[in-house]
């Protein structure tokens, strides 16, 4: 499972934060404005109340009859936010606005603002408390105004928040561009390129990463070089005494006169040869597993194969190996020594397990094929041979490492070894083929 990208994570977090800030700001603004509005509303309620009270006092004092309720007639039908009622000191209602419901007007004694029954009241009295006015305004009106105000504050957010998110996303993409460039730079270099990354123009945050990566590449390069020089030196150190012992025992065999000495010399010689082969294979395996198998400079495969095939021109198998090469050079960036190890093991395998000639072919596409004649191999056995560290049924004195070495190299150069038996169009034979073109660097799957 892959984690979401840094861009997505950051954009998500930033968008959430920005949205919350916007909403918080809108909320606080609405709150502040509402309390301001309340003051304005209260002040207008008070002003209106005081004005009506003055008129009411004049009206009430001018009456002939005392204690009579009079309702102000509506001049015209209209939305009325303010309703009022005027009482005398004994609680008798002297005057009401045309829609005022006296039941909903509590009898206040204190001058000032009161709140009850979802209404805002203002109470004030005049003429030594004999005329008292209560004016009311429904709170629902104020809430409606506050709601409309909050809505008009929130409405731009519907547009602004998506715009901010888009901006954040784009900005992050722009900011993270050096990271994308670094990734592309790493992806472009071939598997064999261990040169350090240039760090001069690198972003501050990326520089430590690049420096660490460069140190790692340098260590890897050193390790590869050490591995290579170790296998080369170890091979040399082992081969020199073996060569001396083998040469001496061969001289002994040639010059010995009694059959017993000849027989013993032959035994020692055979043992030395086995030891030589085994140490050679172990070195090859070490090379195949440890060392760098791709080189910086592609080389023609043909001279390498000529040398390897030439090694079989002498001795017991002389004349069995036939080599077919294309006329034009076949360049490959696979290490020539790895190619030689691969070819040598395939040819030795074919010589040991097959009868008659062994055909070694390099086609113009760079596919190396080694074919030999032998009874057909059962599909199960063939599948088993494709696995590592498996000996054929009649491996004889084989080390069992040959195909394992070939498999290891094939795996590491990313070019599968294909085994087939019988040969196409025949009922017998065995063929092993592998593409030796080298590995064009592939984008790693993300």
């Amino acid at each position: 499972m892959t984690r979401p990208s840094i861009r997505l994570r950051s954009a998500g977090a930033l968008s959430l934060i920005v949205t919350l800030i916007w909403l918080g700001t809108a909320l606080v603004t609405a709150r502040l404005l509402t309390s301001e509005l309340d003051e304005v509303f209260d002040s207008s309620l008070q002003e209106t109340g005081q004005r009506i009270l003055q008129l009411a006092v004049v009206d009430v004092l001018g009456r002939e009859e005392e204690g009579v309720t009079q309702r102000v007639m509506a001049l015209d039908e209209h939305e009325e936010y303010f309703t009022y009622i005027v009482r005398d000191d004994r609680g008798r209602i002297l005057l009401t606005s045309h829609r005022a419901d006296p039941a909903r007007f509590p009898a206040f004694s204190d001058t000032g603002f009161h709140q009850a029954d979802d209404q805002r009241f203002y109470h004030e009295s005049a003429v030594s408390g004999t005329v008292a006015l209560t004016i009311a305004e429904p709170l629902s009106h104020r809430r409606e105004v506050a709601r409309e105000m909050a809505l008009s504050l929130a409405l731009p957010l519907v547009v602004m928040i998506p715009l901010s998110i888009a901006g954040i996303f784009y900005g992050l993409g722009y900011g993270l561009r050096p990271l994308v460039q670094l990734r592309a730079q790493l992806a472009r270099r071939g598997a064999k390129d261990l040169s350090p990354l240039p760090t001069e123009d690198m972003a501050t945050e990326l520089r430590p990463i690049a420096d660490t990566l460069n140190q790692l590449l340098a260590r890897l390069d050193t390790a590869f070089a050490a591995e290579r020089s170790f296998t080369a030196n170890a091979a040399h150190e082992l081969r020199t005494p073996l060569a001396g012992a083998l040469a001496q025992v061969q001289r002994l065999r040639q010059t010995a006169t009694d059959p017993e000495s000849v027989r013993r010399a032959e035994e020692v010689e055979a043992t030395l040869k086995r030891l030589t082969r085994l140490s050679e294979r172990l070195m090859q395996l070490a090379r195949a597993e440890g060392a760098r198998l791709l080189t910086d400079t592609p080389q023609d495969l043909r001279p390498i194969l000529r040398i390897v095939a030439g090694d079989f021109a002498q001795g017991a198998d002389a004349g069995r190996v036939t080599l077919t090469l294309p006329d034009t050079p076949i360049a490959s960036d696979i290490d020539p020594d790895a190619v030689a190890i691969l070819a040598r093991n395939l040819i030795e395998n074919a010589l040991r397990h097959g009868q008659g000639p062994v055909a070694v072919t390099l086609d113009p596409q760079g596919i190396l094929t080694v074919e030999n004649d032998c009874p057909p191999i059962l599909p199960d056995d063939l599948a088993a041979l494709s696995g590592r560290f498996v000996r054929g049924k009649d491996a004889g004195d084989g080390s069992g490492l040959g195909l394992a070495i070939v498999h290891t190299i094939a795996e590491r150069i990313g070019s599968p070894l294909r085994l087939a038996s019988p040969l196409s169009g025949k009922s017998t034979g065995f063929s092993a083929s592998i593409l030796l073109r080298g590995t064009p660097y592939q984008e790693p799957s993300r």
């Binding site: 091979a235 073996l242 001396g244 001289r251 020539p336 020594d337």
Partner: protein
């Protein structure tokens, strides 16, 4: 053939030397490059067997400088460096052949023979000379299907003529060939062997240039 063996490992060197001398070559052994340079300055060799890792330096630069100086002497590299890249480098430096240690002594003999034949201009080990059929690889001479046995010394001398057909070979040149058999070559040794060869192979096989030396005849 006069062979210069450049090899620091005494065990290997003695076995190689014995082997080559057993086949009638004369071998000078140098354990270091400076000894080898000295030998090359004073003597002309027909073949150099060169090890690559020597106590006083590497064989490849030595070979390169030898070729740079215009030396035509065939060189077979013998080395424990088994990598193909080393071998390609060796061949590019001017080696004629490359043997990876450990190797069979018989393979060394075969390669010496092959390189010598290539240098004589005829890589084919079979030579037809009049009625004679000569196999350089097997060291066998047949005349009308009849095998003619030659002694080791007779063979070494005969081979010297076969490798340089038509060329005049002086008595000291021929004596040099026989150094591996005797510490001292007696004054009439060459005459004795030439007369044996004529008796076995035919009077016209070796011609005498009076006062100068011998050359291969039409047989």
């Amino acid at each position: 053939m006069r062979i210069l063996l450049i090899e620091d490992d005494r065990v290997i060197a003695t076995a190689l030397r014995e082997q080559a001398e057993g086949e009638g070559h004369s071998v000078d052994w140098a354990a270091r490059l400076d000894e080898a340079s000295e030998a090359l300055a004073t003597t002309s060799f027909d073949l150099i067997l060169l090890d690559l890792m020597l106590p006083d330096g590497r064989g490849l630069p030595f070979l390169r400088s030898l070729r740079a100086k215009g030396s035509q002497t065939p060189v077979i590299i013998m080395t424990a460096l088994d990598q193909v890249s080393d071998r390609i480098e060796g061949l590019n430096a001017g080696a004629d052949d490359y043997l990876v240690k450990p190797f069979d002594l018989s393979e060394l003999s075969a390669r010496i023979g092959a390189v010598a034949r290539r240098y004589s201009g005829n890589p084919n080990p079979l030579i037809i000379l009049g009625e004679l059929s000569i196999n350089l690889a097997d060291r066998r001479v047949t005349k009308a299907t009849r095998n003619i046995p030659l002694t080791a010394r007779e063979w070494v001398l005969f081979e010297a003529f076969l490798q340089k057909p038509g060329q005049l070979l002086s008595k000291p040149q021929l004596e040099e060939r026989l150094y591996s058999f005797d510490a001292e070559v007696e004054s009439n040794t060459i005459e004795v062997h030439v007369s044996h060869l004529r008796k076995k192979l035919g009077a016209m096989v070796i011609l005498t240039e009076r006062g100068l030396g011998y050359r291969l005849g039409p047989a």
